[in-house]
């Protein structure tokens, strides 16, 4: 049996990616299971999805703490303690990471002891589909790593997407982009053994006494400790040369994370900015650009 775990952000399509992979394997004659797991948080927050694929009956149920293959749809998740995408990965397992960096770079940076595959599927999504919704592409990558045939992938994409979108042209574009990702990756050999490289820590809630487990209504603004800044794919970048200090961006940020610096110019709290880009959309001077987040460097790809 092959066990896959997908890590993405709400809205990127991790659930659909796992469905596509499951359906593609089913079309190859396998037994499959796929299901997502959402936390209490919402669009942009880390979520995971799971796929089991087997030639025989699958008796196992529940989340997958020890995957053979992990698909990381967003590089920023690697350093997110809430997501921990590498937790429990089996020895000799494969981890796919959506990044422009090379496997060697990522292996080094995150100290990964597994086969690493990388491809910048967000960029492919933006180029070929015009949006950073990368469910199909992640499904294609996973199918390739699992060793599924191209025809089954194509049919699975068609089948799954027809359930959620009606635009035939968009479905055709998704198939094209999926095949492109599929063919770009080389075929791998996966032979994992049970030992894991990191502690298995997928959702293990300790039992706390009532004094601790009951929320305190006296705490003030402790949410500041939560770094929602890594939810975003694009970050707003201010050009103070054209800014007239009109305050429009400050007023329109749902998170309230734009403040004024000593000169009265707006500055963002990047630890918390979720990258909704309302500020950029609303600035009358077009003084805020959306800059793509990609690991440590940011590449400007989108004017606003």
């Amino acid at each position: 049996m092959l066990k896959l775990r997908f890590h993405g952000r709400g809205g990127q399509g991790a659930k659909v990616a796992s469905r596509i992979t499951g359906t593609a394997a089913f079309l190859e004659g396998c037994h499959v299971q796929d299901f997502p797991l959402y936390g209490a948080e919402r669009r942009g927050a880390p979520i995971s999805a799971f796929t089991r694929i087997s030639r025989g009956t699958i008796m196992e149920r529940g989340v997958i703490p020890n995957p053979d293959i992990t698909i990381v749809m967003d590089q920023t998740l690697l350093s997110d303690p809430q997501a921990e995408p590498l937790a429990g990965l089996k020895k000799n397992g494969v981890v796919f990471i959506n990044t422009p960096d090379s496997p060697a770079q990522v292996k080094d940076e995150y100290n990964i002891d597994a086969q690493v595959v990388t491809l910048d599927i967000t960029n492919i999504g933006l180029d070929m589909l015009g949006s950073p919704i990368i469910s199909t592409l992640a499904g294609a990558v996973a199918s390739r790593i699992v060793g599924i045939g191209e025809e089954s992938l194509k049919n699975a994409v068609e089948k799954e997407l027809s359930k959620i979108i009606t635009d035939q042209k968009l479905i055709a574009k998704n198939i094209e982009a999926a095949i492109y990702c599929f063919r770009t990756l080389e075929l791998l050999k996966i032979k994992t053994i049970q030992t894991t490289q990191r502690q298995d820590s997928v959702i293990r809630m300790p039992f706390e006494p009532a004094k601790i487990s009951t929320p305190s209504i006296n705490t003030t603004a402790s949410s500041l400790l939560k770094r929602t800044g890594n939810w975003r794919l694009f970050k707003p970048f201010w050009d103070h040369d054209v800014c007239t200090k009109c305050m429009i961006c400050v007023t329109r940020c749902p998170e309230g994370c734009i403040s004024l610096n000593e000169q009265g110019f707006p500055v963002a709290d990047y630890e918390h900015c979720k990258g909704c880009m309302i500020c950029a959309e609303e600035c009358p001077k077009k003084g805020i650009k959306a800059v793509r987040e990609s690991g440590s460097d940011s590449v400007e790809v989108m004017g606003t």
Binding site: G10, G11, G39, A40, E41, R42, R43, G44, A45, T166, D167, S213, T214, P215, S216, I217, N218, T219, T220, A221, S222, S223, L224, L225, K226, R227, T228, W231, R232, M247, I248, T251, R252, C253, P254, E255, G256, C257, D269, E271, H272, C273, K274, G275, C276, M277, I278, A280, E281, E282
Partner: protein, 305 residues
Amino acid sequence: MSTEPIKSIKDLPLDENLFPGTPACAGCGGLLTLRHCLKMLGDKVVIVNAAGCFTLLSIYPFTPFKSSWLYTAMACAPAGAQGVRDALDILIEKGKLNPGDDLKVLVLTGDGAAYDMGLSSTSGAIYRNLDFYYICYDNEAYGNTGFQQSGATPFASRTKTTPIGKDFPKKDLFEIWNSHKPPYLATISPAYPVDLANKFKKAEQYKGPKLFISLTPCPPGWSTDPSHTFKLAKLAVDTGIWALKESVSGEVKHTFVPGKFKPVEEYLKEQGRFSHLFKPERKEETLGKIQEMVNEYWKQYGVLL
């Protein structure tokens, strides 16, 4: 707070009482509304939150609020507010709480709770003239559980439970509440923060129920780009779909009337939940009907002939 009306966004209070790090979706219009409301209400507030998206704002051990927060089931936030108000009053009466340190009691609900499950409890609270604030962030469906239709879902909107579009209109919660003749009742929009702020300033003068309904774009539910949230909230007002008004003891007045109404289509065509009205072919009849419903509303107030 000074009684001078706020004239521009530059006069809005700079203090924040809702902090970042929340679990709400990027671009949530409800969050933007709440941020402005809490700026006006200050930090001496007890928030009584009916189940919905915003009960996720405080997830142990994290809270984005400066003030206290209490979670109730969907149907009973106003009843919870009554309990909190009574407790505060008893403390004041016993001399254990200085009236100057008194807290405002605020009910916070989504449209699911406000329009449907919590309606009888709200009606009871208005009827008893409970001294409290009530804010409903109305994204026109049960957003928290995957966007199923609620009493607030408008005609023709697609939701998980109305896949081909809802075939009857939204409840008029404003009118239902207004028939109770509460001291202060208003509709607000995150796209008109100055109007919103002045309504809170005005409401402050009244004892009793002070109610606010805000139409708030919801990017995942409405299938819109998060960056368009503000634009859509504004289009809802500028097309006349969301009327900005207030009512003092039952008497209704519009606080903003667009100089020239934009066609409703401009608002509808931006949203995935209405995309079936444009693709694969235009549903002229439905589009016409929506425009007609908006025109009828304004005619009733003599704004349109």
